[in-house]
């Protein structure tokens, strides 16, 4: 049975990649008038990267076929 932790990893990984990608796009193509406060911190980049790393670890550690079921 596929572990619940694998599904969580998959969710974090896919969302992390999307957010990280959106952040990089804004980093390289900054809007003339940012609509959010603290735009200069580029939260999408580091938050997306963090989610990607955590998600990838969960996906690897709990990949289907292992014994650790949730």
């Amino acid at each position: 049975m596929v572990s619940i932790w694998f599904f969580i990893g998959l969710s974090l990984l896919v969302n992390g990649v999307l957010i990280f990608g959106a952040g990089l796009y804004e980093l390289w193509n900054p809007p003339a008038h940012p609509t959010v406060e603290l735009f200069n911190l580029h939260a999408s980049v580091w938050w997306g990267a963090l989610m990607t790393v955590i998600g990838a670890w969960y996906c690897y550690h709990f990949k289907p076929g292992q014994k650790k079921a949730g």
Binding site: V2, F7, I8, I19, A22, V36, W47, G48
Partner: protein, 567 residues
């Protein structure tokens, strides 16, 4: 026909980009995929209604917390933090942690070893059929109504935040929940609740991080709140000496005895919506550890709920107003503070994740209500009162159909609330009527062997009637609040606390008096149901750091330190 105030809304708060939409669509696809994947593992009653009783402590514990962490909870308490300050944290700390630890260490062993399917099921074993019938019918009725109220609230939020059509939100979310719960039963609901727990944290945690950065740290935030509101908005206990010294209009007696000792104990230990998740644990140690793990995370939920409300007080340029004023003026209400903070800091991608967190919160609450309703209907109403001779397969089919019907009743309730918005207040009040007396009945049943069936039944009934009577009295004559809450300065929230306290005491007194006048059960009949007559199974010979009592102690110490720090 006049337009309900619920539909007078300001312009949408945020606009989604393509990547936000992809994130939201991916979420719906994933929860449905989990439901379809698990459909083959929900063929027996134990599988469908109890998730096979094979959940680990972590899965059961996070699901236990997630079922309570609905988006109404997130947005409502963020709004309360804006309105009342840090006092709202009491509902997460003293109003939750002691009760969760009590459930883990004292009550869980009895629920677990009795192998009951539900809390009404325990009442049947302990007090007989009448007590179960009162509890099961009231719980089933209120659960689907609450689910409908939550559904309407979600649709309204999506309309305000995103400009989505209210019918679209109601039907998409309800059909999704109906599919994944009907297919995979409780296991599917639990798996999705754990997933939703992670999404809620991933989507909401950036707000306090960026908010504290903008405010210049906690010390500067306190200064700004004191300037814009009051110094009392950042103190947890120091203003609770009297009703007039704090923004909530309550005192420490209401918080300690009403909230912590009765309402919180009642909710966390007897509300089947949350207890069902623990009953699915794989063994007694997991069943005890699950609420402790839930309590550990619960202590930090104020980070993503209360802190954004407090930050809103300091950094938002506009002043938020009560819902009633917002409905007339079109201004933003207190309940909008979380979406407003989301829109303030989150750009493309992060915004989609934040909205997904809100949707996940709503759906976890709805799925929790529906799966609990399904179990109570099938095991505590349909099987004992309508058809007691069905096969296991028949009851599983009944569970699947009840899931769909429960969702449809919820949708009907949502449309009813849409027409008559005041129903929402009544339904939420009704739900609170049953919590305190039910706790009195269950706790006496577990701890006092002399409590009898008639005592339990009449105590539950009288406690509930007294609660309804007090509520109706204050509704008819608002000045009566001074008698219910013992002060002319008490405000609305104080009423709930004291009403619960009195109804609990009525339940206990009636149960004791009737029990002493009726014939008790023999000790042999009460084995496995009452403290002192039941050998509580040991968690086994394990190192001290793996024992539930050790981790309960750790959580207790952190809880104590936090309360002192924010005194």
């Amino acid at each position: 026909m006049t337009i309900p105030s619920a539909f007078i809304v300001p312009a949408r708060l945020v606009h989604l980009s393509a990547v936000d939409v992809v994130i939201i669509v991916f979420y719906f696809a994933l929860v449905l995929a989990i439901g379809f994947y698990l459909r083959g593992r929900a063929n027996t009653g134990e599988d469908f209604f109890m998730a096979g009783r094979e959940m680990t402590a972590w899965v059961a514990g996070l699901s236990f917390l997630s079922a309570n962490l609905g988006a109404l909870e997130l947005m409502g308490w963020a709004g309360s933090a804006y309105q009342y300050g840090i006092l709202a944290t009491h509902w997460y700390w003293i109003g939750a942690i002691p009760a969760m630890l009590f459930l883990a260490l004292v009550m869980m062993p009895f629920y677990y070893i009795s192998k009951t399917h539900s809390v009404p099921g325990y009442l049947k074993l302990r007090f007989g059929e009448p007590a179960r019938a009162v509890s099961a019918v009231s719980f089933a009725f209120m659960t689907v109504l609450m689910s409908g109220v939550n559904m309407f609230a979600m649709a309204k939020v999506m309309q305000i935040v995103l400009g989505w059509d209210i019918n679209f939100s109601i039907w998409v979310s309800s059909i999704t929940v109906a599919i994944y719960v009907a297919l995979g039963g409780l296991r599917s609901a639990i798996f999705n609740e754990v997933l939703q727990f992670f999404l809620i944290w991933a989507g909401a945690l950036l707000i306090p991080i960026l908010g504290l950065y903008e405010a210049g740290g906690w010390s500067n935030l306190k200064v700004q709140i004191a300037q814009r509101a009051s110094d009392q908005y950042v103190h947890l206990w120091s203003g609770l000496g009297s009703f007039t010294d704090n923004p909530m209009g309550i005192n420490w007696i209401g918080i300690v005895f009403g909230l912590a000792a009765v309402i919180s104990m009642g909710y966390w230990t007897t509300d089947f919506l949350v207890v069902q998740r623990i009953l699915a644990a794989k063994d007694i140690r997991s069943a005890e550890m699950a609420p402790i793990i839930g309590a550990g995370f619960k202590m930090f939920v104020p980070l993503i709920v209360i802190l954004p409300g407090l930050l809103g007080l300091a950094v938002l340029p506009m002043k938020l107003v009560p819902e009633s004023v917002a409905a007339v003026t079109g201004a933003h209400s207190y309940n909008d503070v979380l979406p407003l903070m989301l829109a303030r800091y989150c750009g493309p991608g992060l915004l989609g994740l934040g909205i997904t967190a809100l949707i996940a919160g709503f759906m976890s609450g709805m799925a929790g209500n529906v799966s609990a309703f399904t179990t109570v209907w099938t095991y505590d109403i349909y099987r004992p009162l309508i058809n007691s001779k069905g096969t296991d397969h028949h009851y599983v089919n009944m569970g699947r159909w009840t899931t769909v019907i429960g969702v449809l009743i919820s949708v009907g309730t949502a449309y009813l609330v849409m027409q008559f918005a005041s129903i929402m207040d009544y339904v939420q009040a009704l739900f609170s009527f049953f919590i305190a007396p039910l706790f009195g009945t269950v706790i006496l049943g577990m701890l006092w062997k002399r409590a009898t069936g008639p005592g339990g039944f009449w105590g539950l009934l009288c406690g509930t009637v007294s609660s309804v009577s007090m509520w109706a009295w204050v509704k008819a004559d608002p000045s009566a609040l001074r008698y219910v809450a013992l002060s002319p300065h008490a405000k609305a929230l104080a009423q709930d606390m004291f009403q619960a306290l009195w109804s609990f005491l009525v339940c206990v007194v009636v149960t004791v008096v009737v029990s002493l006048a009726t014939k008790p059960k023999t000790d042999a009949e009460l084995t496995g149901l009452v403290y002192g007559l039941t050998p509580v199974p040991s968690v086994g010979s394990i190192p001290v750091y793996q024992k539930p009592i050790f981790w309960a102690g750790v959580v207790g110490v952190v809880f104590f330190v936090l309360n002192i720090y924010f005194w």
